[in-house]
């Protein structure tokens, strides 16, 4: 494992939805094999930043990015960047579990199939099993791999979505409020899982749950009104923040 190497770097990054200036001069480094949490009130730009990294904002018309957002030394918005290759390296888990209406097996296999990342049926089986194990779901589903993914509980569905993201071995996993629609037990499982996953992946998580950020993240970024207010080690942000406004938000005085 490489300590303290850079994964993602934003340099004076700005983002616009039409004329709305959603992100303002963001400068931020994300380290490899760390968990970085983004917190802040709704509409502060944290999800926009997350979706800029794998360019999911491309789906929205009239958006524009300025400045640099570097991944692997390349600006993700560079013309020469193949967006499908970028998304292969930067996986994503969404707020609401969104498995495909296919079998459990086919959900995980999907990424391997579209990216042709397997070598024959045996290899496919092995890789699907490995991912389901990593996501802590294998023991619960190994006898029902052909069952429809929507027969699983919400928490299981979200772990399935994590397995689906892991199977193509991305470097970074983006998580957009992954436990927002889950019960406390499922949430705890996902949080444990995040701790496991950071051994092999870099994780960026958006959360509205302050305790969750404190529990899972190595570093925390506090966003407000499109600006990065404060960024640093989670322990510092939560105990001795530099700015009054950060403290006010964390202690629940607004938000």
């Amino acid at each position: 494992m490489v300590e303290n190497t850079l994964s993602i770097k934003a340099v004076d990054f700005n983002f616009y939805y039409g004329s709305h200036h959603a992100l303002k001069n963001i400068n931020l480094d994300v380290m490899k094999n760390k968990v970085m949490a983004m917190i802040g009130p709704s509409g502060c730009g944290k999800s926009t930043f997350l979706r800029s990294i794998n360019r999911m904002n491309d789906l929205i018309e009239g958006t524009q990015a300025k400045g640099a957002l570097l991944f692997g030394g390349m600006d993700v918005n560079e013309k020469s960047v193949d967006v499908t290759r970028l998304r292969r390296e930067v996986g994503m888990v969404f707020q609401k579990p969104n498995p495909f209406p296919k079998s459990i097996f086919e959900n995980v296999a999907y990424g391997l199939r579209v990216n042709r990342l397997f070598n024959g049926r045996d290899d496919l089986n092995v890789k699907v099993e490995q991912s389901l194990r990593e996501a802590g779901l294998w023991d619960e589903v190994k006898d029902n791999l052909n069952k429809n993914a929507y027969d699983l509980s919400g928490g299981q569905q979200q772990r399935l979505c994590i397995a689906r993201a892991l199977v193509i071995r991305p470097e970074v996993i983006l998580m957009d409020e992954p436990t927002a629609s889950l019960d406390p037990i499922s949430t705890a499982k996902i949080e444990e899982l995040i701790q496991e996953l950071k051994k092999n992946y870099t994780i960026i998580i958006v959360t509205h749950n302050m305790q969750q950020a404190a529990r899972v993240a190595d570093n925390t970024a506090f966003f407000m009104l499109g600006e990065l207010v404060e960024y640093g080690e989670t322990s510092k942000i939560f105990t001795k923040p530099d700015k009054k406004i950060t403290e006010d938000y964390i202690t629940g005085r607004f938000g």
Binding site: R87, V114, N148, R164
Partner: protein
């Protein structure tokens, strides 16, 4: 609770009276709709039942169309509607895919939508004239199965496009996002995730289109249909008989006794055909809803 104030009591009574009157109007409207449907179907059934027997379905018309069956008309309508769908399905679905997924200019899409909606509003006789001028004469297809198929195909195209678009848009955006986020291209996302989940909706639209095509007279009267043939069409360039046109022919040109009954019999067969097709569409939709997990 008992209202003791007499003025308030009077007002309450008034409110309920108005509600009852309102409901009565609504009931009357629904009843008249249902009644007219029942009367229409009942009339056709009573008038046409007498003509129906096995021979009516499997025999050619005989004796100046005053006896015999309507087999060639049934076959003609079957071929025309199936052909029209084979023509309109790929064209319509691919257009819908482009409109929902690939078009980059909203202006262009809006313009195309206006075009498609106008196409849906064109009177069917105009389609017939277009078919005569362009397909029959200019393209020299002649009065033929092919000309009829193309005209009917163009006519049902708006139905197919609009229902296919609705079906494609009803697939949750989250499926699309999940697929793209895994490194799939837009095209892979379309045919691996969106289309398979939209297919039942698309089929429903297509089948409703068939029902529409089967019952039309005007578009085929100059382009495909003929009063009478002694044989079934042997190529795309043959003239065909068709159910709606057969009714038209019997009612306008006929002078012999017995033709009237055959006309009603034909109308009954056409009605049953269209109802069966619509029932199939409904069955597919119900089945798809049951199987749907999301």
């Amino acid at each position: 609770m008992k209202e003791t104030h007499p003025e308030k009591q009077a007002i309450d009574k008034n409110r309920y009276a108005r509600q009852s009157a309102g409901f009565l109007v609504l009931k009357a409207c629904v009843l008249s709709v249902v009644l007219s449907l029942i009367v229409l179907i009942g009339f056709i059934v009573i008038k046409g039942m007498g003509a129906l027997n096995i021979d009516f379905f499997i025999k050619f018309p005989e004796n100046g169309m005053s006896e015999g069956g309507i087999f060639p008309a049934i076959m003609g309508t079957f071929l025309l509607s199936t052909g029209a769908i084979l023509f309109a399905l790929p064209l319509g679905v691919l257009t819908a895919v482009w409109l929902t997924e690939y078009s980059t200019s909203m202006k262009m899409v809006r313009l195309l939508r206006i075009g498609i909606n106008s196409l849906a509003g064109v009177p069917s006789i105009v389609f017939g004239l277009f078919g005569l001028a362009f397909l029959v004469k200019f393209m020299q297809f002649g009065v033929s199965l092919l000309s009829g198929i193309v005209v009917l195909g163009i006519m049902v195209l708006p139905t197919v496009i609009v229902t296919a678009e609705e079906a494609l848009l009803s697939v949750p955006k989250s499926f699309k996002e999940a697929s793209l986020a895994l490194g799939a291209t837009r095209w892979e996302t379309m045919y691996k995730v969106i289309l398979p989940n939209a297919i039942s909706g698309i089929l429903t639209g297509v089948i409703l289109g068939i029902g529409r095509a089967a019952g039309e007279t005007a578009p085929i009267m100059f382009t495909a249909a003929t009063f009478f043939t002694v044989k079934l069409p042997d190529s795309l360039f043959s003239e065909v008989m068709a159910l709606p046109y057969h009714i038209y022919a019997l009612m306008t040109e006929g002078s012999q006794a017995g033709q009237m009954e055959i006309a009603y019999g034909t109308a009954l067969v056409l009605l049953m055909l269209v109802l069966a097709v619509n029932a199939a569409a409904i069955a597919i939709r119900i089945k798809a809803r049951r199987g749907r997990k999301w």
